[in-house]
Symmetry: C2
Subunit: 457 residues, 2 copies
């Protein structure tokens, strides 16, 4: 590796933390379809959303015309703790792959939540505080979002109640302890503390919980407690808005060195990091100012873009939340328990779904073992232990770089490295021991859950 004009890590200064979020929807001709009230099947109004979400966040959720929304100074102050995040030129990986491609990654893992989730958690906590609320509730699976939210609430002195899927609460105690360090109360779900929890426990006494059930409990507590609201870490428009700092910084850092990506790659679960990373680039593409290949990478075990259908569906398995139009496998689809990473959500952000539907981006799916092979290859030369989720993007970035080796093209590749894998070592252990397997759902399985989609005229 030789010294080069472009440093290994490009750090913007703290003054260059974005001053406004970029609202991708403002540049879309075909706006993402609105959330529907599951009872009336009419678009959800601000009034209907207000008992669940904070006022300012409802506004952001429904605003599809304002291009830039100012980031309050208090949030920018917090961002300064871990932003701007580095844009890294992967010199060592390029050398290892013997590729003429130039590979960059935006690394969002250098904060204690270990992921990009903190970008939206701090914004949501701020607006809750500003509204004079006492606290917020949320659900968490493995705990990435819950960790980020507990850090954000601790900073603003808000109470934070996290319903954690019981099986994760018991088997993955470490993120739980990080949340407790930040003062959050973490309740295994289903719990005896809510009506819905008691009902589920009475019906299924041995249940180890599900994300759908945890959502139901969190929403119940938020809507029935004075001074509480519910917050969510992905899928929603507001979350993509907050995550736009990833793309804004990446673009600014590249422009400093006159670099333009040819290909932009991100892993896709609910779509929050992908939407954030590609946002400002996609904006240019929508406005006809530039062209980029944009690739969403999803796990072959949960392939909503590549094998799902574009339709209205519930966001939660409990079917209590509004309906969203999205690429979905059906809210009753259950990804293989063997799948180690996140990215297990059955649907995809409405915004990204619309863009994919309109042909502005590609999607591909990758299998688990090849994802861990990419993760290990990356870790060994770049020195970062990547999260399994992020490693889906690494897999495709490596594949594209290898294609360049074949063709001799010097393409510039940018991908999102959303987080670290410190809490995923049980999965790495399985991989090392040859105990990991790939699971790809059959056409029949997917058809069966899609057949159960709600009927929306």
């Amino acid at each position: 590796m030789s010294e080069s004009k472009i440093p290994y890590k490009i750090y913007l200064s703290e003054d260059e933390v974005p001053k406004a979020w970029y609202n991708l929807r403002a540049d879309m001709k075909n706006k993402p379809a609105p959330l529907l009230n599951p009872g009336t099947l009419r678009p959800m109004t601000a009034e209907e959303l207000a008992p669940v979400f904070c006022e300012e966040l409802v506004k952001q959720e429904l605003d599809d015309t304002t291009q830039y929304i100012d980031i309050p100074q208090e949030i920018r102050d917090f961002y300064r703790m871990f932003r701007p995040s580095p844009l890294v030129r992967a010199y060592c990986l390029e050398e290892k792959l013997k590729t003429p491609a130039k590979i960059y990654y935006k690394f969002e893992g250098n904060n204690t939540s270990g992921s990009h989730k903190l970008n939206s958690a701090i914004a949501q906590a701020y607006y809750a505080k500003k509204q004079g609320l006492k606290g917020v509730t949320t659900e968490t699976g493995a705990g990435q979002w819950g960790t980020a939210l507990s850090m954000a609430c601790s900073y603003f002195g808000l109470d934070c109640k996290v319903f954690m899927v019981k099986v994760s609460y018991e088997q993955k105690p470490f993120r739980r302890e990080v949340m407790r360090t930040y003062g959050a109360s973490v309740v295994p779900s289903p719990s005896e503390t809510t009506n819905v929890g008691r009902k589920i426990l009475a019906e299924f006494p041995g249940t180890t919980g599900s994300l759908g059930c945890a959502i139901s409990e969190a929403v119940e507590v938020a809507t029935s407690s004075e001074g509480y609201r519910y917050v969510l870490g992905s899928v929603l428009n507001q979350v993509l808005l907050h995550q736009s700092v990833i793309g804004l910084e990446a673009k600014a850092a590249m422009e400093k060195y006159n670099v333009k990506p040819d290909i932009i790659i991100g892993c896709a679960g609910g779509g929050s990091n992908l939407g954030g990373l590609i946002g400002p680039f996609m904006g240019e593409k929508l406005r006809g100012e530039a062209d980029y290949r944009i690739i969403a990478v999803e796990p072959a075990s949960c392939p909503s873009f590549t094998r799902g259908t574009y339709a209205y569906d519930f966001c939660d398995t409990g079917m209590i939340c509004p309906l969203a139009k999205m690429y979905t496998l059906g809210s009753s689809f259950i990804p293989s328990a063997n799948h180690a990473g996140g990215l297990r959500f059955h649907g995809m952000s409405s915004t990204l779904s619309q863009l994919y539907h309109d042909g502005y981006m590609e999607a591909t799916s990758v299998e688990q073992i090849s994802v861990f092979e990419a993760a290990e290859q990356f870790a060994r030369v770049e020195g970062i232990l990547p999260a399994p989720e992020s490693s889906h993007a690494i897999r495709v970035a490596i594949d594209e770089a290898l294609k360049c080796r074949e063709t001799g093209e010097e393409k510039t590749i940018l991908f999102g490295l959303t987080g670290t894998g410190y809490f995923d070592l049980v999965a790495y252990e399985k991989f090392h021991n040859g105990e990991m397997s790939d699971y790809i759902p059959t056409d029949e399985e997917i058809a069966a859950s899609i057949a159960r989609l709600p009927k929306v005229e």
Copy 2:
């Protein structure tokens, strides 16, 4: 928190990664006492050290006159992946403590080894590679050093054999899996792969291992295998030399903003991070160019500076390594198993011991529960989950800042934040559950192990 001239994080540019290590011993009038051959009780010669350590490292170990030693370009290239590390102004902590003190910390945890250990691991791996060796061996307890070394060996394509204390291998599988991700072979110690391991297993079939035993196995394999040497992550002069990058960067970053610390604080186990952080500052003090209060913080459960004696002792509990003159509790001293952090070494680096003996630095000891209280307080406002080891320094930094609140003095405090606590969540859990206790050895216990020190005239 208001915008200030001094940013939250001070990043030097990659060109400012130090070009030479600073060798503190060159500025010491009273040089640290030499290692002694345990057989002859004469100073170890380069020839005697060569079968165990790499040639270039033996030179560095014995060199107490060269003030600066060039850092080879290959090591600087690797340093660029995670260095310069940020110097952080702890604005949020200051505000929380309502102190007029200005608090800075040098954060060494933003790399996958999670600690400062990588600074020396990459240097030691480089010299092994340069000497044409096939690989290196080492021991590791909880796995921090082993992780750093496996990353370094992976980068240079060296084989890496880590003997991991059996109880940690079984109970703390996560760092083991990080090491395996980097291609290291990790062997639970004692093992059937060495003479000393087999002997110990025959004698104590149920043993869960010890660091001393793991050292013995690693040294045996290094000295009996063609093309292998043994490497060590703390205590040695060469390690303090490599770690001087911490202090050099901290000093350069502070000088950019015309800041001079009044108090410099570091946690102290074997002394590697403390020696690195204080190195260049201590140099100025030794040369009479500046004055600083320098405080070593050790756990009350393993208080080698504050309650040990200054004498020749074995570095390992197996008593096979050379004798070092140091503040020691005796190599037979066993710290309480309850103590969660590292810093469990019975002795202290010879260099630091001499400086402490000559009155150039202070030492203090702190109890475990108060350390975790400081860790939690720090995490909640500064957003970093600190390692228990690092939190010893945080405890004293907070205490000094609170004294400033009493007196109104605007002192500038610098401390070393050596690593993250992602792999220490079992200890955090104990703390949250009120199951943590403090253990302070009795005078009788310490006297008993000191009575067993080797007799050196």
